[in-house]
Symmetry: C3
């Protein structure tokens, strides 16, 4: 018992547990951030959507490249987006597969855009998403989100593949 409870051993086990717990918390925090996007964008919370990104973060959708929070908030406030909300709209983000490496993270997820029309619901779009994030003083923020519609364009499968080949996360047991 003396062998396993001496000061050096305890210090090593505590430090290892602190590292593993932090890895789990990081992954949890990144996941929560990404799962905030849908509820915020579908409620028109323009500043809160923009605040998910880092100050100079990029949101790169097929037809639109937004640089920085002002451009992202402007998209949410646009007539086109407000029209989706008024008619009924779900930006359904699937469970992200997150990889944290130190102060950087990547994630891959699908998203579905569902809209209400003519008394029914339409699946307008299925999209591949690749996210990069970094740890800031205010918590994790999105550095880049690239979204490409899964309509046969080769970029979209490539985006999915790149998101899964990311390095092994912190705290993963060998």
């Amino acid at each position: 018992m003396a062998d396993t409870t001496n000061g050096t051993d305890i210090e090593r086990r505590l430090a290892r547990l602190e590292q593993r717990t932090r890895a789990l918390e990081d992954e949890r925090e990144v996941t929560r951030l990404l799962l905030s996007y849908g509820p915020l964008v579908d409620s028109g919370s323009a500043d809160a959507v923009a605040g998910l990104w880092d100050a100079d973060g990029v949101y790169d959708v097929d037809e639109l490249l937004m640089r920085g929070r002002d451009q992202i908030a402007a998209m949410v406030r646009s007539g086109a987006h407000q029209g989706w909300i008024a008619g009924g709209c779900a930006h359904f983000v699937g469970p992200p597969r997150v990889t944290v490496a130190g102060d950087d993270a990547t994630a891959v997820s699908y998203s579905l855009m569902v809209t209400h029309a003519d008394g029914g619901f339409v699946l307008r779009r299925a999209t591949a998403n690749h996210w990069t994030l970094r740890r800031t003083d205010a918590g994790w923020r999105i550095v880049n989100r690239t979204a490409r519609v899964l309509d046969g364009r080769p970029e979209s499968p490539a985006l999915l593949a790149s998101g899964v080949s990311a390095p092994v996360p912190d705290g993963e047991r060998a």
Copy 2:
């Protein structure tokens, strides 16, 4: 080394780790509970569905207000619901964004109702869900689930927004 491994310091680090681990476990347990809804309701497991709620829990859907487990189980046993199962049905609950604060929790999620008809599948409904839960002696249970279809009614975006503005969870690093 003596400075970092003395009894008081070890006690403090252990207590902090226990608190952080519990916060992660709570969020995991709430998530597992919410992800049980779909499989249980789509298999007609009426009592198990009702058992996800607290004894006096409320399930508030657009057209139907259920108070307590008996009313929830009755919905699952109803001819209407049994008809969905017989025909083919998926209550697809998306990944919940969970916020735990002590013995209470809130979550926001989307859900899709998909049914089989005429040899194909129909996306019948996209819905905003706001859940409140509490820790009971038997584990986490649902106190209230409010579900509003995303068809343009203003309540639904408001429900999504309210789910994300919840307080900072336990164990979150400053």
Copy 3:
């Protein structure tokens, strides 16, 4: 203070934390593995898809039974599957409800198959999935995935029910 920080007590608390942290890591690792399926299969990463399974793992879909990695990789390389990718396809796997028990795990999830056709998107299939996994020297791997379409066949609801009645996970507080 002496009472709570003596060597035996610290040893017990450290060991308990290590066990709880490992339970959280296991569930996280199983979830990440299952969330890798969609991005890998929709990008045609045949060997990587097959590598999610154990060497003699089984993938049992309604119309097709695949035994071992070669048969799984062959499905991904088939003309039929390559045609889906070329046309635009999302194998959207919902958040799995995971139960870990020692070196074994089970999970239940929904999956949606969405394809692009005629300038729009079609929800081709909603499916019930039951997964069993085991811990290998290389990490968690799938032993069996059984998928049944939710078109009214009784096997599909039964599969959903069986996935939720799994034993209480490791690390769950009483």
